[in-house]
């Protein structure tokens, strides 16, 4: 049962760079949160997942409890994904946290304008990065009460797409 629960992947990480994915998962692993993370590699995949289409049309489970979103991605970028989610009545309740290398003001403004729930700058320093990601994971997975219908026990996220 525990393993089952542990296998519920209700954190959606949208990140195109495999090294960032690895570093992020490494950081989360320290608090055993990595197995809750489902990784998609660009915005299009993220939207497919959320809308259950394409390769995710048969996926199980509900909506993620949080979407960790990189901004700079091929195909559909993070800002577009954010806009789509926040413009959709069904999806807008899903918390979205932007994880970005940029602390450029325009990026911040655009994201907050479109209803981002948090904006985290990925520190260059690895120690700081680890700290930030771990705190983030703990906050969203344990401390924060997710909106209803997301990440419930009945919902399961099956692994899809290539790492």
């Amino acid at each position: 049962m525990e393993t089952e629960t542990g296998n519920i992947k209700n954190i959606l990480l949208v990140e195109d760079d495999p090294r960032d994915v690895e570093l992020t998962l490494t950081a989360l692993e320290e608090h055993h949160l990595a197995n809750k993370v489902l990784v998609v590699h660009d915005g299009a995949e993220a939207l497919d997942y959320l809308y259950r289409r394409g390769q995710f049309n048969m996926r199980a489970g509900g909506d993620p409890i949080v979407v960790l979103l990189d901004l700079k991605m091929p195909k559909v970028n993070g800002l577009e994904v954010l806009k789509t989610i926040k413009d959709d009545e069904g999806l807008k309740i899903i918390p979205v946290v932007v994880l970005s290398s940029s602390r450029e003001t325009p990026d911040l403004i655009e994201c907050y304008k479109h209803g981002v729930n948090a904006y985290v700058v990925k520190p260059v320093d690895f120690a700081e990065f680890m700290k930030a990601v771990q705190q983030l994971g703990i906050f969203w997975a344990a401390i924060n009460e997710p909106p209803p219908q997301t990440g419930s026990g009945a919902t399961s996220i099956t692994e899809g797409g290539s790492p």
């Binding site: 290398s101 940029s102 003001t105």
Partner: protein, 728 residues
């Protein structure tokens, strides 16, 4: 003023005579003529009167003489007849004559008769006793030849008439001299009808009669008296004339010469007359018939002499009239001249002004034209010639419509109608067409011209060619538009550059940071995972890798900040420098707890600036000061406000740190310029460049003073503005 009234006529000098001037001249001429007429009339009347009186005087004078002479002649004749009458009906004498004729040898009778005759002989040249046949029977002096035929004829006449009779002038056949005499018939004392003979007293006119006749009581060169008698159709001159010798009884003139006084006298006329005498010379004469005689007397004088005093007088009058006329003329002329001088002076003055105006108008580069309301052009200046290409001569034959383009005719017509209706129209822009068909843009200024009665007579129009100006204005507009276009293009380019810069910054933020993070992350992971099995040296290498990546991250952050400082829009507000400095200092507190830093903060003013950027600059400067005093046991940092000049607020930050070589002061504020090695002081070399950029964007300056190991002072200035808040 020139175009506002009829004085516009002066614009065309010589086209019209000066009416007032010739009128004045006419007045003076009339005045003179009137005066002259008066003088001539007066003179003529005076002359007429004088002549009349003078003639009357001449007539009187001649009449007196003529009357006197006529009377004397009558008396003379009477006396002569009286002499003859002594023998008439003298019975004793008749008896003696009868005795002597019957008995010629009767010596007594002869002697007694001789005594009778002898008594008369001294008074008469010859005294004769003729018998009835006219034969001289007795004479005194004795022995005279026979009597002339004229006398013989007279004897028979006198015996027939039985009256004592004058024997008129006759020429003696013996001596060819002229004589006259008295014939007294002697009848028988017993038988009165029986004629016995005739006593004949012969007179020589030369002795008394001719001298008497010729005598003129006054001194005269031409006056004379003459006697005539009629013989048939001729007048016979009886005495010797003053200007013609041998005239007596020889000179005869026909009676039909009416102008001849002698002829008129012979016809029996009496009184005064003017005529032409025997010499053909004009004369004045008085005619008198001598009573009981065939004689007529003419007292005559040459008209030239008679009238000379009158002529002289008349000439004097004429002369005087002439002088008067001349005087009057001179007077009128003088008045006229004075009037003219005044007139011309006045006119010259007004004309001078008008000419100045006219010159200005004539030489104006603006076209100045005058036309009547039908559009006929009446004046055309040089400017118009140049502008429209028509000469003045051509233009004066032209209508104004010729220079009005088709499209503007309706406008022009409407405008003339409005002007005539009394509307005030001053200036407007329109178009004109030149002789060679070019269309000109003109600025038109019009004035309605009035005559002296205030009646509108035409339109004066000044036209300025503004084609060039309009073109220039359009050119300026075009250039402006072009410039704006270029500015817009440049702005767009700049915007594009800005955008590129922004996207560059964006890329730097994202794409350059990520690899660094990976380098550091994986280096850390490597150390964690394999740290225990690595050598000391390998661990050191890993650390160097992390540090290098970290430094690269800092450089990127600083560069991004620097780039942002140049790009973001300034948002100026009143910035309280005291607060800002305290805030900045607070940021360094944590890092400097182990150091001894003596902060000296002077009171600072408020400035008008972008809060965030100014803060960045201050952070840079303060961090520099903190950094370069790191080697000092007792660091000292002073922040204050320099005495300001030129409307600037000057802030300085002074430290007692490492300082710098002043000869490199100019390099201090350059990007990546460092005066110290990284080993001595860490840093990216962007901080001061960023300060300069921020201050420059505020319109201020940055500079520094320092010496190697002598500390440094950095200055920046912010311009004071109206909005500056002081002492807040």
């Amino acid at each position: 003023m020139f175009l506002s009234g009829p004085s516009a006529a002066t614009a065309l000098p010589g086209h019209r005579a000066e009416p007032s001037e010739s009128r004045a001249g006419l007045v003076f001429l009339l005045m003179f003529l009137l005066l002259a007429a008066g003088i001539i009339a007066a003179g003529w009347l005076y002359c007429r009167n004088y002549e009349k009186q003078f003639r009357a005087g001449i007539e009187r004078q001649l009449s007196v003489i003529a009357d006197l002479k006529a009377g004397d002649l009558a008396q003379y004749r009477k006396e002569r007849l009286a002499d003859g009458s002594l023998f008439f009906q003298n019975a004793p004498f008749a008896a003696l004559v009868r005795r002597f004729l019957e008995q010629p040898e009767d010596a007594d009778a002869q002697r007694q008769l001789q005594i009778w005759l002898g008594k008369y002989q001294p008074f008469y040249g010859q005294v004769r006793l003729l018998d009835a046949r006219g034969v001289t029977r007795l004479s005194s002096p004795a022995g005279l030849p026979a009597v002339s035929s004229a006398v013989a004829k007279g004897v028979s006449d006198v015996l027939r008439s039985g009256q004592v009779t004058m024997q008129d002038f006759y020429r003696s056949e013996q001596d060819q001299r002229i004589h006259l005499g008295v014939l007294t018939p002697i009848f028988d004392e017993q038988d009165a009808r029986r004629p016995l003979g005739v006593v004949f007293l012969r007179m020589d006119p030369e002795t008394y009669l001719y001298p008497f006749i010729e005598r003129w009581p006054t001194a005269s060169l031409t006056a004379e008296t003459l006697l005539v008698r009629r013989e048939g159709n001729e007048a016979v001159f009886l005495n010797e004339l003053r200007f013609q010798t041998n005239s007596a009884l020889n000179l005869r003139m026909p009676l039909d010469r009416v102008a001849l006084p002698a002829a008129q006298a012979a016809l029996g006329r009496e009184g005064f007359m003017e005529g032409v005498d025997y010499r053909g010379v004009p004369v004045v004469a008085v005619l008198r018939a001598i009573p009981d005689s065939p004689w007529s007397l003419v007292a005559r004088m040459d008209a030239a002499e008679a009238y000379r005093p009158m002529r002289e007088q008349l000439w004097q009058v004429v002369l005087m009239a002439g002088v008067l006329l001349f005087g009057a003329g001179a007077f009128a002329g003088l008045l006229w001249r004075r009037q003219r001088v005044r007139f011309y002076r006045e006119r010259a003055e007004t004309e001078d002004e008008a000419r100045r105006f006219a010159t200005v108008v004539k030489d104006s580069n603006d076209a100045v034209t005058i036309s009547d309301f039908e559009g006929q052009i009446t004046a055309w200046n040089r400017g118009a010639e140049l502008m429209y290409g028509y000469s003045e001569e051509e233009a004066l034959q032209m209508n104004i419509w010729r220079i009005t383009p088709e499209a503007k005719r309706a406008e022009k017509k409407a405008f003339i109608d409005r002007l005539v209706a009394g509307e005030a129209i001053s200036s407007f822009e329109t178009q004109r067409v030149t002789k060679d068909g070019r269309i000109l843009d003109v600025w038109l200024t019009v004035t309605k011209l009035m005559d002296q009665a205030g009646k509108p007579i035409g339109i004066a129009s000044t036209e300025r060619d503004i084609t060039e100006r309009k073109r220039a204005v359009e050119e300026v507009h075009r250039l402006n538009a072009e410039l704006e276009q270029r500015v817009a293009e440049r702005t767009a380019q700049l915007q594009a550059v800005n955008e590129e810069l922004e996207s560059f910054g964006y890329s730097v933020s994202h794409d350059l940071r990520a690899p660094l993070r990976h380098v550091m992350g994986f280096a850390d992971l490597l150390q964690k995972e394999a740290g225990s099995s690595l050598s000391e040296k390998s661990l050191c290498h890993l650390k160097t890798i992390s540090q290098a990546a970290q430094r690269m991250g800092e450089l990127i952050d600083d560069l991004l900040a620097f780039s942002r400082a140049g790009r973001v829009a300034l948002q100026k507000t009143g910035v309280n420098l005291d607060e800002l400095v305290r805030e900045t200092m607070g940021g360094f507190q944590a890092d400097t707890t182990e150091r001894h830093i003596a902060w000296e903060i002077h009171p600072l003013p408020a400035v008008w600036a972008d809060h965030a950027l100014l803060r960045q600059a201050l952070v840079n400067l303060v961090s520099n000061a903190v950094k370069f005093t790191g080697a000092r046991a007792e660091a000292k940092i002073e922040i204050g406000c320099a005495p300001n000049t030129n409307g600037e607020t000057v802030i300085f930050i002074r430290d007692n740190g490492a300082g710098f070589d002043p000869k490199y002061a100019s390099k201090l504020f350059g990007v990546f310029q460092r005066l110290h090695s990284s080993a001595e002081f860490e840093g990216t070399g962007i901080g001061l460049a960023n300060v300069r950029r921020v201050i420059r964007r505020h319109g201020g300056r940055t500079w520094a003073e320092g010496a190697v190991e002598g500390g440094a002072t950095f200055y920046f200035s912010i311009p004071k503005q109206k909005e500056d808040i002081h002492g807040n």
